[in-house]
Amino acid sequence: MGRLSSRAGSTFLQFLLLMGTLIIPSRESAAIPAFSRLYGTSCSTCHIDFPKLNDFGKAFKDAGFKFPKDDESMLKIPPVMLGAPANAELWPKAIWPGTIPGIPPIGLRMNNYFQYTGTSSGKFASLTPAGTLPPFVPTTDFETGLFSIFTAGNFGSDIAFWVDDDISVSGANASGELGDGYLKFVNIGRLIKLPKNSLNFRVGQFELELPFTQARSIWISPYDIYSQANIGAMNSLVPLQQFVNNQFQMADVGKGVEFSGGLHTGGYNYSIAFIDQNTSGIGQDQNPGSPYVPQATGSNLGGVGVASDANFKDIYASFNYRFNLEHDKESRKAIQAAGPTGPRDHTYLNFGTYYFYGRSVQRLLGAASDGTAALVTAREPFYRVGGNMTFNYRCCLQFNALYMYGHDNNLLPIDAAGDLIPLQNLSTAVPVGFIHSTPATFSGGFADVEWLAYPWMMVLMRYDGVNSTSDRINGLQTNPSFTGAPFNAPFASTRNRFTPGVQFLIHANIKASFEYQFRPSQSVVIATNPVTGLPIALNPFHTNTAVAGLEWVY
């Protein structure tokens, strides 16, 4: 069986994957206790229910991790000068000399989870191929989450830095990986006399400027649409075949450069990023490069430029406009509104749109036109496009919504005669090229409500929906005795999920979270109703899951 056909029969593995994702929390960054130390201020200066930023936190970030005004007077630990200020007279338009933070700006974060999954979740064991042991899904499970280190700050002259790294994930040191690691040159537009804040430049590894950040989301569970990879229909039991295996997910970090501008506290903001393409999912550690190509960095894990799977750079662009609906004119100009009982975020309405363009790469051993063996490559253009909206009412109530449409061109392999090669025969056939076929698409999004009932309590509700025809087809049972009916409400097609949640700030830096994830009923046993003659689902089960989390930063 070819490698694609093998994937098509991997329903069981998808189940395991789903179970895994229920436990493993989304990659997150969190509040920066280092800033608390430097400025002698509480987390709540920048955060509502960390790591969610309030408007001041957004302004702090926009300014390059410093106070938008009078930063020096706010610092309780003065920075170390890397040159006397008078040196700037030598090169007045240069950015030298700079500073480094007075203390190493390091923060740490740890979290623990407890999960409860319904006992019926084991009913999918009937999917297990004959002769193999069914998996065991525990009803309850304790799980350590991330132990992360992060550091961020400003080197003076509007140069900001950020590095976060998961030292350990789920208690396994080897699972840790770099999250974001970048240098950001804030307001470089001033060098070419552009309006203030209109142009920043960022280089390194970073989460794309998504409409709603996954890395700084307050939700325990990730947004389903952000983790949707587009795997084309590969089930050999159905006529629709798609040679699409795009591992890209919107929540992935990208390596590259970004131009951005505007403010997140009012008016417009935009981002245009160019990042490495890696749609085949091969990590740097598995891609050591060619022994004949010198590794510029000397890294034993590939050095520079060998983690991409193509020369093409993916492009991401986003644009948002925030309408300030604050009544009080004076407050409207300020970063936060002057509420009768304290500063609060403005009432605002934000609309945005985003677009991602890339090329998904798949390579096959085939032949050139003259019959000699050759590597044939399908570079399938794909895009993700969508819109987003936020309505924020003062301090305490926020509605968010995001829609995404995903589209991957579908290039099917053909043989020398120009005939389509059935995907399950790829291992034995000799492809020479590709022709266009039905694209693989998906759509979906999420909508949520976040209500800060008290300064220490956040009440949440979210709906996630992902609709992918390919996922549904791939979810079909491949057991010959199974006649083709999918799960009766399959998690693998339109994935609906309602997630109520509540979070308590025990301290400003300690949070207890709870989520209950409702999913539709599923079934893997389909029979014929003896009375009606119609198919019925037996052994229905839910993968509803309750997750409680405890996390702290310091």
Binding site: S42, A334, Q336, A338, G339, P340, T341, G342, P343, P455
Partner: protein, 192 residues
Amino acid sequence: MMRSFLLMVLLIGAVAVTAVAGTIEGTVSPGKSSVVYVDTIQGKTFPAPSQQPIMDQKGLMFSPHVMVIQVGTTVEFLNSDSVQHNVFWPSISGNKKLGHNLGTWPKGDKRPFKFDNNGVVSLLCNVHPEMAGYIVVSPTPYFAETDASGNYKIENVPDGKYNVVAWHEGMKPQTKSVDVSGTGKADFTLSK
């Protein structure tokens, strides 16, 4: 003759005033930023001072950290930071009915508030919970703040017997009875 008589009258007067306007002094442990004041004197009221001290918010801190005023004093709350601040106090000496929220105002602006009730006012800012300041509202005009060594001196106290209260942040206040006859002395050792 007449001149000598006037000098004598002035001298007697001066001696008499000195005898009435005494001092209370001593030390408070822990030292700096402790407040000592003469508690309520039965049957005596004092006109409110016209001076309006300023409680500043600067560098994400209340400045001064501790202020002592006479009851009836109006305090000007200033924001010198480029960030917005709020000032509120949940109670005065535990009396939650006297809690108050002054709201929010931008850099350079001030908000006045007249303190008509004596007690300890714990100042807070609801967006910067690490910020804390204190206003000790004394029922009499006889109060003082300790110096770095914990020494204090309350001046112009008429002769008499008074209850003298010492207060320090995070400590239990302590009251001592002091006889003032020209001078009075009271040392305090406060504890949590």
